[in-house]
């Protein structure tokens, strides 16, 4: 700049990634910390399940319905498998499958959403109406029907849920991308002769990432709730693979049994609590992230 040019804005060196992460984390409220720690524990349990779990996933190690004790912390299930071990393996299966599903649904829904926002016209009309039709049918019933048609396998489960979920991701991605595609830098990229891939992934996507990341957290919750529900109904993850939904189903008769031994929690509640806790934890973190990226300021 020339000498008389006023420096309107102090230009400061960008903080390093580590530094900015540290600053962001230090400002996180208690609920967000709680959520992050819980999620981290779940992830550790999921990744290191074989090393953490005291027994094998489908190993019969005791008698049926043993109460909690020093040998089996959470007791055993209807055929004598250790509940704690199955809970830990269940984390691996449920979270892993839910994560894969959400990832796939974002890849499909996100890409199509941005693409239709860019192209508009008949492509937009076509895809949007198909999505509307899908959205009109309740997910659980639709998923049950498709699983009945295509067969109960984990691959089918992932594909079907990802397809159904991608319709919602598509909606969000399209709506947020519509605000970005009118920007001059997108037009500049078109004028430069850039291909669709570059425009979608380099120009538009980085600018709609915050709402998409938030949505990722929420959709992940819904997906694993749906998986658990399907497993509970018997069409999701199949035995002997450990899964929280089917674990609730397997021991659901115990809900009515009086519990006399410490810690006074009926067995079906363990997986249910695991599901609830993760959902709450994710929502805490998502809330915080949403608040941070929404640009809302805490007024003084």
């Amino acid at each position: 700049m020339t000498a008389q040019a006023p420096q309107l804005r102090q230009v400061r060196a960008r903080r390093s990634l580590w530094e900015s992460t540290r600053r962001t984390l230090s400002s996180a409220p208690f609920s967000a910390w709680f959520g992050m720690i819980v999620i981290l524990l779940y992830v550790i349990a999921a990744v290191f399940a074989p090393w953490i779990a005291p027994y094998g996933e489908a190993e019969i190690v005791g008698k049926a319905y043993q109460p909690p004790g020093p040998e089996f912390w959470f007791g055993t299930d209807q055929i004598g498998r250790d509940l704690l071990s199955r809970l830990i393996y269940g984390a691996r299966n449920t979270i892993g499958i839910a994560f894969m599903t959400t990832l796939l649904s974002f890849a499909v829904g996100g890409t199509l959403g941005v693409l239709t926002a860019l192209k508009r016209g008949w492509l937009d009309q076509g895809i949007s109406r198909v999505v509307d039709a899908f959205l009109a049918i309740p997910v659980l019933i639709f998923a049950l029907m498709l699983l009945a048609v295509f067969g109960k396998s984990i691959v089918n489960l992932i594909l079907i849920l990802a397809l159904l979920d991608s319709t919602r991701v598509f909606r969000l991605a399209r709506a947020t991308a519509l605000n970005v595609v009118v920007m001059d830098y997108v037009e500049a990229a078109k004028l430069r002769g850039e291909g669709m891939g570059w425009i979608i992934f380099k120009e538009v996507l980085p600018n709609i990432l915050p709402p998409l990341i938030t949505e990722f957290g929420l959709r992940f919750c819904f997906v694993f709730l749906t998986i658990s529900a399907l497993s509970f109904l018997g069409v999701g993850i199949q035995p002997p693979t450990a899964d929280w939904g089917s674990m609730v189903a397997e021991s659901k008769t115990l809900i009515t049994f009086p519990v006399r031994t410490f810690p006074w929690i009926p067995a079906p509640f363990y997986p249910a609590i695991a599901i609830a806790l993760l959902t709450v934890a994710i929502n805490f973190v998502v809330d915080w992230f949403l608040h941070k990226t929404s640009g809302l300021r805490d007024e003084v």
Binding site: V11, M183, Y185, R192
Partner: protein, 546 residues
């Protein structure tokens, strides 16, 4: 507001002492206004002038006792007619606002609620405050519309905001502000968003009505020529401090401070005209329309010589930006052809090859929306290099550094994001991105309109130097005649999709003009405090004579 002699000034209405305001960004408070004193008598108009970031709008709002979200008034006193606005409660201030202090915002289109009729919004404050009943308020509003010279004053209030023009809406907002006969009106850049031809009418209407009702006003703007027409006194602000204050005529004729002098001097930039027959781009009999209904371009023919600048001028809706879209291929013409380096140019963008795309580059009005906020300067300038020339890695970085150097920016900016730069720096980056492609033509769409005058001049000087170095041609789209004078070799005047006049600068800017060019040129505010008065008198005489 101007006729100083007849103006009766009363006692002091507004008294601001040592005002200090802080703004919050990223959780850190930093000063915006650093101790400003200001006093305003009844019936007096004070012009606040300065570049963006000078704190003008913040002071204007503070005069109402209001601090924007993210701002706080930390020190000083604000006395309005004996009432201490800093100590006054929210409830008290709300009673004052609208009835005794009114505010006219920059964008009337954004300030009106699109779901309600204009008349309902005009009388709302008066009726709710109980100043008058609805019947009387409506009659009064119609009277105000008439005084503000709105067409069909009796019925225009029945329309919705989108059904009237921007200039009419701005006057309706002035009527709204006037409805309770306030003692003080704050005008915050009320004509900045308007075309020059519309601006004249709005300025005249505002000036008259403020004078008729003997209202005190603070007029905020960055346009010196405009404030010269409106204000009795002018205060120049910079970086939240007062630079100097003086009666308008004194300020215009003998500014004391160096900063004020540089503001005054800005408009002296002028490039000697040079014509050439080596046409690089020629538009022939082009028609264009959106969705085939309204013809936005009607039989447009124009040529751009190599290494020269052609300015396309006209008000909004004249089709000048559409012409740019047709040339870039974003909007294929419905008739006519475009020759580029002697060969016909494919009509649509996707039919053009990479080399053709490279040769026609574009710079946009707003660098905020034309630079991707998630990409660093390295990526923004480096992408055309990579894309067109296949330059990568260290070679690319070296070239980016060279380009930064050519736009007079330091190499250290390479890892910055656009949000970390000032408006002028961002526009420089846009220029560097266009230059990186080594184009034959750069289309500049209002590239300086969003910038302060000093920065404008720097950008224009830079563009001219780059033209000399690289022999690039500019198609310069603008509504600002001062900019045209500064840089153009040839001028194309457009009105309602047609070319009204074209030719070398000296020919177009000097009489005789076609009627529209005359209107356009005469509407450009001059640095003469009597300009508006004289212009209106001339136009009235012309009408009477015709």
């Amino acid at each position: 507001m101007k006729s100083d002699k007849h103006r009766v000034r009363g006692e002091t209405l507004l008294e601001i002492r040592d005002l200090r305001i802080e703004g919050n960004s990223d959780g850190v408070w930093h000063p915006i206004v650093k101790g400003v004193d200001l006093s305003l008598k009844r019936g007096e108009v004070l012009g606040l002038i300065g570049e963006s970031g000078a704190g003008k709008s913040t002071i204007g709002l503070a005069a109402m006792g209001f601090a924007r979200p993210g701002c706080r008034i930390i020190d000083g006193s604000i006395l309005f007619d004996g009432i201490d606005l800093r100590a006054a409660g929210e409830e008290d201030k709300r009673t004052l606002w609208g009835s005794r202090i009114a505010y006219v915002a920059q964008s009337a289109a954004a300030a009106f609620n699109p779901a309600h009729k204009i008349i309902d919004q005009t009388v709302e404050t008066a009726v709710r405050r109980g100043v008058m009943d609805r019947g009387k308020a409506v009659a009064d509003a119609v009277d105000l519309y008439r005084r503000l010279q709105l067409p069909d004053p009796a019925h225009i209030g029945e329309r919705y905001p989108h059904q009237v023009s921007g200039g009419q809406l701005q006057r309706a907002m002035t009527a709204m502000a006037m409805s309770c006969r306030p003692d003080l009106i704050i005008f915050d850049e009320p004509t900045t968003a308007l075309d020059v031809t519309t601006q004249v009418e709005v300025l005249a209407a505002m000036r008259d009505i403020v004078e008729q009702f003997h209202t005190a006003a603070i007029y905020i703007t960055h346009d010196l020529a405009v404030v010269a027409q409106m204000a009795d006194r002018i205060m120049v602000l910079r970086h939240g401090r007062e630079v100097e204050e003086a009666p308008t005529r004194v300020m215009l004729s003998e500014p004391r401070e160096d900063y004020t002098k540089t503001l005054w001097a800005v408009r002296k930039l002028a490039k000697p005209e040079s014509v050439s027959d080596d046409i690089v781009l020629s538009v022939r009999n082009v028609d264009a329309s959106y969705s085939g209904v309204v013809k936005v371009l009607d039989n447009v023919t124009a040529g751009l010589p190599r290494g020269r600048t052609v300015a396309v001028v006209g008000e909004s809706g004249s089709g000048k930006s559409t012409l740019a879209r047709v040339i870039t291929g974003l909007l294929p013409p419905s008739r006519g052809e475009i020759l580029f380096n002697g060969k016909p140019l494919s009509r649509a963008l996707n039919e053009r090859d990479k080399d053709t795309l490279r040769r026609i580059q574009m710079i946009y009005q707003s660098a905020d929306t034309s630079l991707n906020p998630r990409q660093t300067i390295r990526d923004i300038i480096g992408r055309p290099l990579e894309f067109y020339q296949g330059v990568q890695g260290a070679a690319r970085d070296r070239r980016v550094a060279e380009l930064l150097d050519s736009i007079e920016m330091d190499e250290s900016y390479i890892d910055r994001l656009p949000t970390e730069l000032s408006g002028g720096q961002k526009q420089r980056i846009s220029i560097a991105r266009a230059l990186a492609a080594e184009p034959d033509i750069i289309i500049c769409d209002e590239v300086t309109s969003a910038l302060d005058q000093i920065v404008q001049e720097e950008i224009l000087t830079l563009l001219m130097r780059l033209q000399k170095d690289t022999n690039v041609s500019y198609l310069f789209i603008t509504h600002d005649i001062a900019t045209v004078r500064a840089i153009a070799d040839e001028i194309v005047v457009m009105h309602q999709g047609k070319v009204v006049q074209q030719g070398p600068k000296s020919q177009v800017l000097n009489p005789p003009h076609p009627a529209y060019t005359e209107l356009l040129l005469s509407s450009v505010p001059q640095m003469d405090p009597d300009w508006l008065t004289n212009l209106l008198a001339r136009r009235a005489a012309g009408k009477a004579g015709a």
